[in-house]
């Protein structure tokens, strides 16, 4: 890795000032598990790494059953899944946080970092989309909020300007009779990049699906929100037939490429299978909360 400087700002303002001063010659880091690898591989030519881990707002992890979850952008995965209240409220998020990398990676890697790295295969983004997450972004001009499904704009690309940073992610409080789940397909049991992944959430009203959201990983240039799949379920009974219809819509929405991890046909098939399985698990979880 070539010479690079390192800064540890103590406030969001200080961090934004550094980003504004250095433009695309600086990047912010959370756990560093992606950016340090990318720096060694020469993907970035930077003068400055801005470490966000000493900024209070980026370390915030607060859950309130009325308000929801505020997840600071630099909070490591293990802090999320070791929190009993958060694990009970958002089991779907825990599914994703506990399968990123291995134990060593989870000790450093942040969900906010996974979001900002913005790969199509990012394991946390589909479930965050399904859970209706919002990104809290700060730049020199002030704050803005972006829905998670609008955050990524291409492989490794997102809506952040060079002088903006993700400060936190907000998840709405889970409503009654709701359930969510993320699962991915990989050839080994752990430590791999999704061939395809599916995050879903459902809200039930007795045996009927009140609303549902479905999002996919690794099958489009960005994590993909399949609005039509969720809408097809809304108002329908939580039956095999309606789940199958949503799974078919997820498969149809996927636009994967063929690469070393899988072919287009295989990935589209996986979208159908994983959506069906994930919806069934989310529905079971929703019933358990009834």
């Amino acid at each position: 890795m070539k010479w690079i400087d390192y800064a540890t700002p103590r406030s969001v303002r200080e961090a934004v000032d550094l980003l504004a001063e250095h433009g695309d010659r600086a990047r912010i880091m959370a756990g560093g598990t992606d950016i340090l690898v990318q720096l060694r591989a020469g993907r970035w030519d930077l003068d400055l790494l801005v470490d966000g881990k000493n900024i209070a707002e980026l370390n915030e992890l607060t859950y309130d059953p009325e308000v929801g979850l505020t997840l600071g952008a630099a909070v490591a995965c293990y802090k999320v899944y070791q929190n009993a209240a958060i694990s009970r409220a958002y089991p779907g998020l825990i599914d994703a946080a506990s399968l990123i990398g291995g134990i060593q990676i989870q000790g450093r890697a942040a969900i906010g970092g996974n979001v900002c790295n913005s790969t199509p295969s990012a394991d946390t983004i589909p479930i965050l989309i399904a859970l209706g997450a919002t990104c809290n972004i700060v730049g020199p001009g002030g704050n803005r909020k972006v829905a998670m499904e609008d955050f990524c704009t291409g492989p490794g690309q997102n809506v952040l300007q060079a002088d903006e940073m993700l400060v936190s992610i907000h998840l709405p409080a889970p409503v009654a009779n709701s359930g969510a789940h993320y699962q991915r397909f990989i050839p080994r049991n752990e430590m791999d990049i999704a061939v395809a992944g599916v995050g879903v959430s459902v809200v039930l009203d007795n045996g009927t699906v009140k609303s549902a959201r479905v999002a996919l990983a690794s099958v489009a240039p960005t994590p993909l929100f399949v609005r039509a799949a969720g809408e097809a379920l809304a108002g329908k009974p939580a039956s095999e037939e309606s789940i199958q219809k949503a799974a078919d819509l997820a498969r149809d929405a996927a636009t994967p490429i063929t690469d070393m991890r899988g072919t287009i046909e295989y990935r589209k098939h996986l979208c159908e299978v994983l959506t069906r399985r994930a919806l069934n698990i989310a529905i079971e979880r929703a019933k358990e909360t009834q």
Partner: protein, 161 residues
Amino acid sequence: MPAKTYVRSIINREHVDFLCEPRQSLLECLRDVVGLTGTKEGCNDGNCGACTVEFDGRIVTSCLVLGVEAEGKEITTIEGVAIGSTLHPIQQAFLENAALQCGICTPGFIVATKALLEAEPNPSEYRIRFWLANNLCRCTGYDKIVRAVMGAAGKMQAAKA
């Protein structure tokens, strides 16, 4: 060229100060600056786990931590696992179960195992394999490592009883 940074840390229960460049990984600092070469470099991108150390109470791959991030932090490397000349029960179990061949991955496996058994004294085989998924071994086929971890867990439990 940016100046070197003065870093104050606690490594293996001792205060250790060192100078490093901001671009240097904790792994480089441990091996090339501090002179603790027990921690090994494998892939240098977080996949193989050979460079696993305990950092601020969690195991991490030290290739994915910057040396400058060690300011004020406590670190335990493989050199800090034995107490004096007495091997840790995990080290003893790795020897007794022949859980190493070339040995390059072993420091990482032992540091990772120590963190596991401190958090979960009696893990299942499934849990051991899951916990150690971030550590690669190209010699043993893992079975002897898993047996060593189970053996160490048993002995550590018995010693406590």
